[in-house]
Symmetry: C2
Subunit: 319 residues, 2 copies
């Protein structure tokens, strides 16, 4: 397991470790979208990854490295989102138990998805302190191995395999945009791009209603997320001390987008590309459209982070 920022060889090792368990996700393009965007847009479709998001890469990368004496009591985490499903399946595929702490107000559809992937769901009261306390109790009682959703170098290295695959298939990309919540995907993207082609600019895309990463990079230190307010529910968390320095050193900058921009980008992807992305998964394309001029005429890579959305509760206006 890594105890420092992943090197290129670590990312390649991660890629080779997980590749028989993960999907090589497709890169999609659309001439209509290119016209609309004023550049050539390449969508790396992690919504087609197993469990519907890139999170399965990082979770698999950790689970597949655990020696028997660390995995025999299972793995644990707290998450109400895509990391929960990803860890449940990654563990289950290796015959490892998983204990997932979820707030009691999490939607049934998410709780059931974790259970369907073989996870044990433990409910807690909403709020970070209850989540952490419950997790500490669960981890103490079960002796499960705790796997943080993003503040973990092996998670970062696993998420970096998305950009690694992307750039191996599309070496002509001028820039890549990825969404930022805790920074696992974005820091991995920064590292893969930096190692494979340092001329590629990597941008973060963040909801204006949860701008803690933007503020953190401005301040030069981690500013925690406070009262985030956005429908991009995968991007509410704060940066960690393992992801922040990577962004500080390698990120071009962060582009903030409104929820209206996110819905509009999501609608274009649904209608034009005919693929399902969740709001958090549309944020990077929203950022590209918001700063059209900066990307004009270039080859722009967009990481679509996930596609887990409740299709009976959509943000599109009913006509």
């Amino acid at each position: 397991m890594l105890d420092s920022i992943p090197e290129l060889r670590d990312i390649i090792l991660s890629y080779n470790r997980i590749k028989t368990w993960t999907h090589k996700t497709p890169v999609m393009t659309s001439s209509l979208v290119n016209e609309l965007a004023g550049c050539r847009v390449f969508f790396k479709c992690e919504n087609f990854q197993k469990t519907g998001s890139f999170k399965f890469r990082g979770a698999s990368n950790v689970v597949l490295q655990l020696p028997e004496n660390m995995s025999r009591n299972g793995v644990s985490t707290h998450s109400s989102g895509n990391h929960a499903q990803a860890l449940a399946l990654a563990a289950n595929l290796q015959g490892i138990k998983s204990f997932i702490v979820m707030p009691e107000n999490a939607p049934d559809v998410k709780r059931n998805a974790v259970k369907a992937y073989g996870g044990n769901v433990i409910s807690c009261k909403p709020g970070l302190s209850s989540r952490e306390e419950t997790l500490a109790n669960v981890t103490r009682d079960t002796r499960a191995f705790f796997i943080h959703p993003y503040n973990n170098f092996d998670i970062i290295s696993g998420q970096a395999t998305s950009a690694y695959e992307f750039l191996c298939e599309n070496p002509s990309l001028d820039s890549i945009i990825a969404p930022v919540g805790g920074g696992g995907l974005l820091s991995g993207t920064c590292l893969a791009a930096h190692y494979l082609n340092p001329r590629i600019k990597v941008y973060g895309a963040e909801p204006a209603g949860a701008p803690d990463a933007f503020k953190s990079l401005q301040a030069g230190k981690i500013i925690p997320s406070e009262h985030p307010n956005t429908l991009a529910d995968g991007l509410l968390t704060s940066l960690g001390e393992k992801t922040f320095p990577v962004l500080r050193d390698h990120l071009e900058r962060i582009i903030l987008v409104s929820d209206e921009d996110i819905i509009s980008a999501m609608q274009i992807i649904w209608e034009r590309m005919k693929i399902i992305v969740e709001p958090s998964g549309a944020v990077s394309f929203a950022a590209m459209l918001h700063e059209r001029k900066a990307f004009k005429g270039s080859n722009t890579g967009i990481i679509i982070s996930g596609g887990n959305v409740n299709i009976s509760q959509l943000p599109f206006q009913t006509q």
Copy 2:
């Protein structure tokens, strides 16, 4: 232009004629869907075809064959659906005008799509007689070349290229299911499968609320569609005298499915595959699920015919 049922060489010629203008659509699979279905399911994704449906294949196949003296006054058709958009773009890409007769109560979203692809929309009163009368007037006034949505051997040969591509990529298919409205796609699928591997069984999938093809094959003659009632709005039309004999001679049989089955199949495809299919595009998968036993353990090909759906008016129950 063909004046009889397409031979294998005609389908190959069609494929080579259109292939630089059309997408080679991907074949997608999902281990979760396979578990659910009890067989290996291969989805041929015509929702990713240009204009969002297989109709672009047939329309392109006709437009690309028109000599200058037949195309100089444009092309015409009546359609409120996918053939309208397909013909508008296929013509536009060759610098040919198109005149599309649409009922005045067609949704704005469909009218605007045809216009966006460069088509001229002519409104008529709802109902077949008004459609045909308006089309006759338009064709007389403009001298445009009329292209029927399905009762045309070159359209059939163009639609056959979907199954041709499908079988070239997946020769191990035991069966293929395609939806049936007027029968252009289904008869083309029957022909391609018959020529490439006569052991493959081809099934038609039809909404129980519009069962005219089912009745026609039972009766041994074309029974027109009367008062169809289904949300699969691409499958309301009657068979034509050019499509019926192909189905009579080569189709295994037709599987009828309820609208509830269609919505449920559509929801599985959206949630599990993360791709957008329209109700008519989900009918073939609904048929497979409805007759699970018949396909158990086999390699089943499902043609997803299209993905043009108004995402602000979805049939999924709001939670």
